[in-house]
């Protein structure tokens, strides 16, 4: 009944689920894992404060993907950060402009910003014009974002989500507009551009920790803990595999091929 060659993968999946369920149970009792400081997330509040002082807007974009793409988790991570940014802009009375690339993301982003303003105690300050749907087309959207950055003279540029070839365009445009930049993506071919140009960078998986770090959500904290345990298991397997391979014992390789 089980497909051969995939039994090891099934075993690994079961282990990860069991570990997550255990940590989730612990989190529900208040025992949550601690996570390290992430300069990128901490810098967001400073960046929004800068925008307030300068009287210029904060620009945010959750990337180019929607919810029907393999990279949709990055969009969800970006929207989590948007909720935090919306809360801060409401609190500090900074102007927020958020641009999305997909029509399906727009209503979710609107609700997210509304939620942020509600959490900050200023729901009346929310304006629908804060959210702009520019284009589904990659470079049309990028061109729209660059236009907003230059025309509005932004003070802060926050980009967290899935970015592709337009990442350097946006980062460089933000620099030329004189903005402080916080950027993060899990798209590894674009991280180099953000690291080089942005002031603060969230690298890869760090963007997925947004919900856990910014809102201390126990479900997401438990998820981070489970990821760490799974990674330690993977590291152990790699180390054991190297040793067994050097000794000429193919046990682990054969086990993983099951």
């Amino acid at each position: 009944m089980l497909v051969s060659g995939r039994i090891a993968a099934l075993g690994a999946l079961v282990i990860v689920i069991v570990v997550y369920a255990w940590l989730l149970n612990r989190a529900s009792k208040g025992k949550v894992p601690r996570i390290r400081k992430m300069a990128g997330f901490d810098a967001i509040e400073e960046a929004v404060g800068r925008a307030t002082e300068m009287g210029k807007p904060v620009f945010f974009t959750p990337g180019i993907s929607g919810f029907d793409h393999a990279d949709s988790p990055q969009t969800i991570a970006g929207l989590t950060v948007l909720r935090h940014v919306a809360k801060l802009t409401a609190r500090y009375k900074a102007r927020l402009i958020a641009a999305v690339s997909k029509a399906t993301v727009l209503p979710v982003a609107e609700e997210t910003v509304r939620q942020g303003y509600l959490e900050a105690g200023r729901p009346e300050a929310y304006e629908p014009g804060m959210l702009r749907y520019l284009s589904d087309e990659q470079f049309a959207w990028a061109g729209g974002c660059i236009g907003i950055m230059h025309r509005e003279g932004i003070a802060t540029n926050i980009m967290v989500g899935n970015f592709m070839g337009e990442s350097l365009l946006l980062a460089e445009a933000g620099y030329q507009a004189g903005a402080i930049q916080v950027a993060g993506t899990a798209n590894r071919s674009q991280i180099g551009f953000f690291v080089t140009v942005a002031d603060y960078c969230l690298i890869g998986e760090e963007i997925f920790a947004a919900g856990a770090y910014l809102f201390q959500d126990p479900v997401q904290l438990a998820g981070l803990g489970a990821q760490d345990v799974a990674k330690w298991i993977a590291i152990g397997a790699v180390a054991l595999g190297i040793i067994l391979n050097v000794l000429g014992i193919p046990v682990l390789v054969n086990l993983l091929k099951m």
Binding site: I17, A103, D136, L169, T196, E205, V219, A230, K231
Partner: protein, 213 residues
């Protein structure tokens, strides 16, 4: 208050349940050889393709609604671009429906307008790249210097002239890509994969509802 069947269907729990059912079925199909399950999932995947096709239509309608709203409100500095967009969209669709996508006019419009403008915009990246290279790739620290050196080696490796600059560039670049880059990428891929599994488990358990809006 009378609860109608429509209001029951609109409840988030229904959407979460359907997501969980579909997700578990597809995962089970990957690991199990059960003919009825395998057939059901094959059909499910085809339904997904049909839904995605309809989403394209819905996306177009959604886009027209948004731009029609901009035109109606005459949003300053924006409404005339929306008029142009809707006009071009109507022309593209009309020509493609009359001639087919493979027709000469459709192809001309696609190649001369869309491909030309997309490629042009992508090529602006080259200019931003050069200004970023000059300004941002600086030896500010040990790590930045390492980044700089490796970036230069990889750039030269990816150009035909790299071997002419120094004969060791291709071999050194290949080692950098094959060893440290592969090692780091593999760690990254494994980490992302584990994260995707956790996110999937959260989604199937109904604990992650960001996609519902």
């Amino acid at each position: 208050m009378e609860v109608t069947s429509m209001s029951v269907l609109k409840r988030r729990e229904v959407a979460v349940f359907m997501t969980a059912l579909a997700g578990i079925a597809v995962i089970a199909d990957y690991f199990l050889k059960v003919p009825i399950l395998n057939t059901a999932v094959a059909d499910l995947l085809r339904w997904g393709v049909i839904l995605a096709s309809f989403m394209l239509i819905w996306g177009t309608i959604s886009m027209i609604r948004i731009h029609a709203d901009v035109i109606r409100k005459k949003t300053p500095n924006q409404w005339y671009y929306s008029v142009w967009l809707v006009f071009l969209m109507v022309v593209f669709v009309a020509v493609s429906l009359i001639q087919g996508l493979a027709g000469p006019s459709s192809r001309w419009m696609y190649d001369s307008i869309y491909v030309a403008s997309s490629s042009t915009y992508y090529s602006i990246l080259g200019f931003y790249m050069i200004s970023a290279s000059y300004r941002a790739i600086r030896a500010r620290s040990g790590e930045a210097t390492l980044l700089l050196v490796i970036a230069v080696i990889i750039m030269l490796m990816n150009a035909p002239i790299g071997a002419a600059v120094w004969e060791g560039i291709p071999a050194l670049g290949k080692w950098i890509v094959d060893v440290p880059n592969t090692a780091a990428s593999r760690g990254y891929i494994i980490g992302l994969a584990i994260g995707a599994v956790i996110l999937g488990v959260r989604t199937l358990a109904g604990r992650e509802r960001g996609y519902l809006g």
